[in-house]
Every structure is written in C-alpha cells, then in structure tokens.
C-alpha cells in the first residue's frame, strides 16, 4: 500500500516506512539513543531526498524523546538547570546549523556534507566506543566510564554555577558550548545529537550517569523542535506525513527494544552499539569514495 508524501512529492510504501521506524525505534529503546543518526541515512537509502530526510527525522526525534524524558522525570533524573544551559547553546546552534544547511542545499553540496559529517562523527565515536567496550569485556570489570581528572583547563573557565541535581560545579560556558555544537550538527545531520552529548556530559561536564540520559533527552527535544521549525521556514523540507509514519513505527519498536534491552549485559550492549555505529559510518564512507553509477545528477529549481 503506497502513500503519497506531500512535501517529498513521491509515493512510498507505508509498510516500509513503518518498518523503518520500527527498527530505529527498537534500536533506540534497546540502546537508549535517539536513533536520528540511523533514520536519516536509512531514509536516504530508500530514495527520499537527503534534505527531506534530514529535516523530517529531526521532527520525528521529538516523539521518542518526549516519551523517554517523561519516564526519566518521574524518577528525578532530569537536571533542569543543566538542561536549560545546554538549551541556550542548542537553540543558537540549531539556527546556525539550519543556515548552513540552507546554504549547502542551494549550492547543491548538501548530500556530500551530510555524509561527510556522519562518517567523521560516527566513525570517531564508533571506534572510541568499540575500544572502550572491548577493553571493558576483557577486563570483566564493571564498565562505568571514568570521570575526568580533577583539575584541568576546563575548571579554569569563568561563570561557574552550581548544578545541584548533577552535583557538579562548572562554568556555565561549557554546557552552552556543547549545546551550540550539538545544535549545529543536529540541523545538518537531522539527528538529536545524543550520541555526542552523552559522552560529552560524562567526560567534559563530569555528570553522573544517572542524570546524563534524562538531561540529554531534555535538550534534544528542544533542539529537534527548533530545527524542525527553522527547516520548515527556510527550506520547507519537513514532510509531516513521513514524520508521523516514522513516529508510529518507532514508538512501537521502542517498546520491543526496551524489553529486549533488559536481557543484555551493559558491555555487550556497547559493543553491539559500537558495531552498529561503525557499520553505518562505513556504508556512508563507501558511498563517498566509490565511483557513483552516474556521475551526473539533476536538480530542479524549487517551485514556489
């Protein structure tokens, strides 16, 4: 059964999109990640134009993030103060990111930049995660990441604030800065940015793992929402029908993922996730270096 997407202006199989959303949802429930970094490449793979894929997956991310953040909030695991600080940077970052996105879209270099940023970030993070989780399995020790050493240049930054819930005392410029970078990436790649924020929160901000996930989800919601609205205004590439189909699939998939997640050990998790991340990065890298089947591509001028 096919459905016509009004913004993408093509027809897709409903079951295919639901299935895609389901798989991404399953993985996000299993690993506790937003899944945006999977959604965008998978959408591109099935033939959705990259601009529509990135912008629409940004809107879809809001759904599972809201669902999860409510659960974390109930357990008191969301550091609101930190979240707002991250948010400030995130909103500015997403505006910058959307501007970059629009410029690249007009210059017809958007696809390449999206793929490059994905390869770079997924590659680096995937390798780091793989190294860390394999080492953890070998050592058979409890795989809690080490907190950063006591005094570094990060402590010397001005405007320190007390973040009670996370029990850290750091410069407010740090979360704002991290939020800024994540915001820019979120706009370009169509992701929530969780896979950068979670390690950044643990290693740079020194937050305890209890508040990391909830707070990062909190920020993701606002950044993704911001990116969605800005994309809708500047490039008009958010396809709400596609987004809703993805949401439907991912919400159901996430529940199965959560249930499956309880049966895996922490370090096994992370190896699997690292492998997954590297697989996606590898596929995109191959796409970039392999000679394309047709060297030529056509772009129509956007109709008003």
């Amino acid at each position: 059964m096919d459905i016509y997407l009004p913004i993408a202006e093509l027809a897709v199989n409903v079951l295919l999109i639901l299935g895609l959303g389901g798989i991404v949802g399953f993985l996000s429930g299993l690993f506790g990640i937003g899944g945006g970094f999977l959604t965008t490449p998978l959408l591109i793979f099935i033939g959705i134009p990259p601009a529509v894929a990135a912008a629409t997956s940004a809107s879809q991310i809001v759904a599972p993030s809201v669902s999860a953040v409510l659960a974390h909030w109930r357990r008191g695991n969301v550091d609101l103060r930190m979240g707002v600080a991250l948010l400030l940077g995130g909103v500015i970052g997403s505006a910058v990111g959307v501007a970059i996105f629009a410029t690249l879209h007009k210059a017809a270099q958007l696809d390449v930049v999206i793929k490059l940023t994905y390869v770079a970030f997924l590659g680096v993070i995937g390798l780091l995660m793989l190294k860390e989780s394999l080492a953890a399995i070998r050592r058979a020790r409890t795989p809690h990441p080490k907190l950063r050493p006591r005094r570094t240049w990060l402590d010397a930054l001005p405007l320190k604030m007390r973040f009670r819930r996370s029990r850290v005392y750091i410069s407010v410029l740090l979360p704002i800065g991290i939020g800024l970078i994540v915001g820019i990436l979120a706009a370009i790649m169509g992701v929530g940015g969780g896979f950068i924020m979670v390690p950044a929160m643990i290693y740079i901000l020194g937050m305890p793992s209890s508040t990391v996930v909830g707070t990062s989800l909190f920020q993701i919601i606002f950044v993704a929402a911001c990116v969605t609205v800005l994309q809708a205004v500047t490039t008009q590439t958010v396809d709400v029908v596609l987004a809703l189909l993805l949401v439907a699939g991912s919400v159901i998939g996430a529940q199965f993922g959560l249930r499956a997640g309880t049966r895996l050990r922490g370090d096994q998790f992370r190896v699997l996730l690292a492998v997954l991340v590297l697989a996606v990065a590898g596929n995109l890298a191959w796409d970039l270096v392999a000679e394309p089947s047709d060297l030529y591509s056509v772009v129509e001028r956007q109709r008003q």
Binding site: I3, S59, A63, V66, A108, V112, T228, L288, V298
Partner: protein
C-alpha cells in the same frame, strides 16, 4: 445569347464548388478521459485515456509534455579521494515530463527533418542552456539530463502504443507516474499523412494535489512556522501518549 452565358456561369459555379477544398469537418479530433489527475493520499501514478478519430488515411502521434522548469545538471569529480559536485550547467525550458505514443514506428511515417522541427524525439528536444558555452559541453550535460530523467521514469525510453479500432477511431493509455511534476501538462495529438504533419490538436492535462495533500503542501509553504510547530507538537503528543500507554514498564 442569355442561354450560353447562364450555362457558362453555372458551369463556373459548379466547377468552383467541386474544386474547392473540403472544410468544416476536422481531419482530427481528440479528447482525454479526464483533464485533472488528482494527487491524493493513495497516489502512485495514474492512467489517463486519450481517444479520438481521424478523417481519411493517416497515422497518429501523441506527445505529452510536463510543466517546464529550469534544471541544473551537476557532474561529480574526485577531490581528495571523495566524489563531490564540481561542475554544473543549467538548462531552461526543460519539460518536467515527456512521453510519446505512436501507432507505427516514427521513422516509418516521418522524415527526420519533420521529427526535428516538431521535437518528436528526445534527440531533438529543445533544451536551452542558460549560459553560452562549448557545443561539446552542452551535448555532454544535455545527454546527462535526458538520461537522468529517463532513469526516474520522467522521460519515456520507449514510445507508447496507440491502438486503432477500425480506420478511424484510436485510443491510447497515458501513464502519469507518481513522481510526475505537479502542474499543467500539454497533450498534443498529430495527424501524419504522406510524410508530413497535416493536423494537430493540443489539450491540457492538469496534475494537481487535491484535498489533504494540497492543504498540507499549501500550509507548509504559506504558514511555514506554524506548520513546523504543528509537526513538533504532533510528535510531542505522540511521545506523551506512548509514555502513558506503556507506563507499566
């Protein structure tokens, strides 16, 4: 004396009537089964029936042209090991869709000069480059544009079929694919006789979003910020509902 003059006048009159060209009855009539292809939720392409009749011997050629646009062709090149767009060329008056249907192969019924004059095949399709440049470069990018559109199913690779019922009535099924551009298409029917086009008729075909899809598209373009906010709110609500529904976990 009056008799021969009247007879002469009558003779001239009869001769004039007999020798006058036949007018009043059109050699070719054609019509479409519907003039609007409504793009709705379940749209995955649509068939439009073309039918008509010809008077006298001849062959029929149908050309469907989609709305014209400006298309830019990009060529990838290798830079630092990766393939990025390095050269481009823009063409104007590029039809968004092009298809042809014939009852007999085109080469059998028309000489190349006529085919070229009326743009009856892709080789002779007039695509004007926006900037003057070398002929070789134009040919290269033009061929790429046509090839790309053919791959997308927007330019026909093979001519479609026109079926004749008897000597006069003809019909043809025209297929508009799901990715066909939205807008006004022109369907031109040519009557071919003795290696020349003797008659032509053009009728419009509108492919337009109606109903829900049109409203969504319109909303997205005219009320863009509100559309974005609505998209976010819908996703947020879905997340909230999902949270409620699976609360027991």
């Amino acid at each position: 004396m009056r008799w021969p003059r009247r007879a002469l006048m009558l003779l001239i009159l009869v001769a004039a009537v007999v020798a006058a060209p036949r007018t009043g009855i059109a050699d070719l009539v054609a019509a479409l089964s519907n003039h609007l292809v409504a793009v709705t939720t379940g749209f995955s392409g649509s068939n439009v029936l073309l039918f008509g009749a010809i008077d006298g011997p001849g062959d029929v050629v149908v050309v469907i042209r989609g709305p014209e646009d400006i298309a830019t062709v990009h060529r990838k090149g290798r830079t630092f090991g990766i393939w990025i767009n390095e050269a481009d060329m823009a063409f104007a008056e590029v039809p968004g869709f092009w298809a042809i249907a014939v009852n007999r192969p085109l080469e059998e019924i028309l000489p190349e000069s006529v085919i070229a004059a009326h743009q009856l095949d892709l080789q002779h399709l007039r695509l004007s480059p926006l900037e003057p440049t070398s002929l070789r470069r134009i040919a290269e990018f033009r061929a790429a544009l046509i090839r790309n559109r053919q791959q997308q199913g927007l330019y026909s690779a093979e001519p479609g079929r026109i079926d004749f019922l008897g000597n006069r009535l003809f019909r043809s099924d025209l297929w508009i694919p799901a990715n066909g551009p939205i807008g006004t298409y022109s369907v031109t029917v040519f009557l071919v006789r003795d290696g020349d086009i003797v008659s032509a008729e053009t009728t419009p075909l509108i492919v337009g979003k109606v109903g829900f899809e049109a409203q969504v598209f319109d909303f997205a373009h005219r009320w863009a910020p509100l559309y974005g906010i609505v998209a976010v709110l819908l996703a947020a609500m879905a997340g909230w509902v999902a949270n409620l529904a699976f609360r027991k976990e």
